[in-house]
């Protein structure tokens, strides 16, 4: 579920990085001012623990396949939302740098999808409300599974939206969502079961580890029925919004304007101030329409008309591309030959 740089545009990557950077700053301040100093090494070592735990696979009953722990919800239960977000973010940084699992620019997206949703939505709004102080085993199990499923559903939908908004993939929203959401629902339930299993183990062996977090929020008298009804309502609303978004019309506002005026955009305003500001905006906008300004020489970009993309252009692009690759590899080989050093042993 890690977003890759290949699928996002600079605008989406930048925006999500801004959101995640803001969250990192906020959580860092919270951790520094409110948390015990003991939590500092605990956060670090728990991050390494999550990494190590992710390397161990377990069998998923009835499927013949295996899975591994995600760890977002478990970290939130152990550390609380702010410290958990920082820990998840640090794990993602290591994964991106050492394993190219998720791109560097897509880190903002991944931190939001895999950190914000489990730590700030699933844990406080679902898990804590239902499980409370872990007194009731059944409630804790339901809490874990629902919270993990909710967190992963939101995260998976985040991936879908970010891919759609970037415009690199041609997958329609409905198709991509239909692929991602059910798979991650199943993964969410398994993740929830595993998380709760570990929580029960800790409760038996060292309940003091969970005391601080669970003790702060005693279970309220929410009935399971009202929580289920609220989630069902949220699902119906999301489904309604989803199906509206999946409409063939690209933009509701442009469609409405087209219906009224006959064109999708508003015409230029008559006033001089408007014209001057529009000129200034056109000249200074770094990313007009959320994309870089098109290069005039990039013919494959402009041509959606089959007649324009003729064989001559295609052949020229092919020849130029192959020549470029050849020059690149000859350069690399020439530089490597000059070095003549041995490689460190694997």
């Amino acid at each position: 579920m890690h977003m890759a740089d290949a699928l996002i545009s600079p605008a989406v990557g930048g925006a999500m990085w801004a959101a995640s950077a803001g969250l990192i700053a906020y959580c860092s301040r919270k951790v520094r001012t409110e948390l015990d100093d003991r939590k500092v090494p605990l956060m670090g070592v728990l991050g390494s623990f999550i990494f190590a735990a992710q390397m161990i696979n377990f069998s998923i009953p009835g499927t013949g396949s295996s899975g591994h722990l995600g760890g977002g919800l478990l970290l939130a239960v152990l550390l609380g939302p702010h410290a958990a977000f920082l820990t998840i973010a640090s794990v993602l940084v290591v994964q991106a740098l050492f394993f190219a699992d998720g791109g560097l620019l897509a880190l903002g997206c991944n931190m939001f999808n895999l950190g914000f949703f489990p730590a700030f939505i699933a844990y406080p709004l679902v898990y804590k409300k239902i499980a409370g102080s872990h007194r009731h085993r059944a409630r804790t199990t339901v809490a874990g599974m629902l919270a993990a499923a909710a967190g992963l559903q939101l995260g998976a939908f985040g991936v879908v939206l970010e891919t759609l908004l970037s415009g690199i993939s041609s997958l329609p929203l409905a198709t991509f969502a239909l692929f991602m959401q059910p798979i991650h629902l199943a993964i969410g339930f398994v993740e929830g079961a595993v998380t709760v299993g570990i929580v029960f183990f800790i409760l038996k062996a060292r309940p003091d580890i969970l005391d601080k977090e669970s003790g702060n929020a005693p279970a309220r008298s929410f009935s399971l029925r009202s929580v289920t009804a609220a989630l069902l309502l949220a699902g119906l609303l999301t489904g309604g919004v989803l199906s509206w978004l999946a409409s063939a019309k690209p933009d509701g506002l442009e469609w409405s304007i087209a219906k009224v005026t006959g064109s999708e955009g508003l015409g230029a305003q008559a006033g001089r101030a408007h014209a001057a500001l529009a000129w200034l905006q056109e000249k200074t906008s770094f990313l007009p329409d959320y994309a870089f300004k098109k290069c005039p020489s990039d013919k494959t970009v402009e041509s959606k008309n089959p007649e324009a993309a003729d064989g001559e252009t295609s052949l020229a692009g092919f020849i130029g591309g192959m020549l470029t690759l050849a020059i690149a590899f000859i350069t690399g080989a020439a530089l490597k030959r000059r070095k003549k050093k041995g490689l460190p042993q694997h």
Partner: protein, 272 residues
């Protein structure tokens, strides 16, 4: 014995760590130059339109030159890419099914926009993922954290990154040993049930918490009072400026002008 994922991940972590300790001209450069150049490179690559393929090819120069100058194993890096490609590959391979408008004709061959954007996605993924691996293999995680700290990353997060890096090898080894010990006692049964996994992970978690407490006691006994200070032996000189500005100019130039198309047209004209 069944190969578990930690057998492939943990050596991978260590190997990149070992590669980052080499002494080449590239490794001696200030880490800020390499981090900045890598970020500019990634932004330039992903800023291309979805149908850009030939225009992306000059960007192969950067990883090729860095791998050569940094004495890095190209085959190993490419193998790492293939292991981590599933989402990008899945989304890319779906494009030809949804974008069928013909965009390229060369004689009898006609390619739809979907195939072109699919190639573009694969190329983007390879270039950006290689950039990340090359950055770590030529700079090292600790120095990257120092650069991020200098760039304004909150100190609490930088400390978190350094802690996780310090203990990742220790805990990965511990997890690997526990998992192997269980496998050796499984009498040939493959796979691990969820209940066994919860118990095994629970034990690892308890050890982790105890380790954290010992670390805290060790820190306090060495004078830790809640604040971390870094010694910063970094120097950004003429070489670093030339490296950063030179590559940035290269990226900006090839982002703005599609030289492969131009060269291809030139050659076509000469052949006629």
């Amino acid at each position: 014995m069944q190969m578990t994922t930690q057998d492939t991940h943990s050596p991978g972590l260590r190997y990149l760590d070992i590669l980052s300790c080499q002494d080449t001209m590239l490794h001696r450069l200030d880490p800020r130059a390499k981090v900045l150049t890598s970020l500019i490179y990634i932004v330039a690559v992903i800023s291309f339109d979805k149908y850009a393929v030939s225009a992306l090819l000059p960007f192969c120069f950067f990883p090729v030159v860095m791998i050569s100058l940094g004495n890095l194993p190209a085959a190993y890096l490419v193998k790492q890419l293939l292991i981590m490609a599933p989402l990008a590959l899945f989304v890319g391979i779906a494009n030809p099914f949804f974008d069928r408008e013909i965009m390229l004709r060369a004689g009898p061959v006609a390619l739809s926009g979907g195939w072109i954007s699919c190639c573009s996605i694969f190329l983007r993924f390879a270039l950006t993922a290689l950039a990340a691996l090359i950055l770590i293999a030529t700079t090292g995680f600790t120095k990257v954290c120092m650069v991020l700290d200098r760039l304004g990353l909150p100190r609490a997060f930088t400390v978190q990154l350094l802690f996780i890096y310090r203990y990742i090898f220790v805990l990965a080894d511990e997890g690997s040993q526990m998992s192997k010990a269980r496998a050796l006692r499984s009498c040939g049964r493959r796979g691990m049930s969820i209940s066994v996994f919860c118990s095994l992970t629970g034990h690892l978690l308890l050890r982790t918490v105890d380790r954290a407490q010992r670390i805290y006691m060790a820190m306090v006994s060495r004078g830790f009072r809640g604040e971390f200070r870094f010694k910063a032996p970094l120097s950004f000189g003429m070489r670093e400026a030339a490296f950063t500005l030179g590559w940035s100019a290269f990226f900006i130039f090839f982002r703005m002008y599609s030289i492969p198309s131009f060269v291809g047209e030139l050659i076509e004209g000469l052949l006629r």
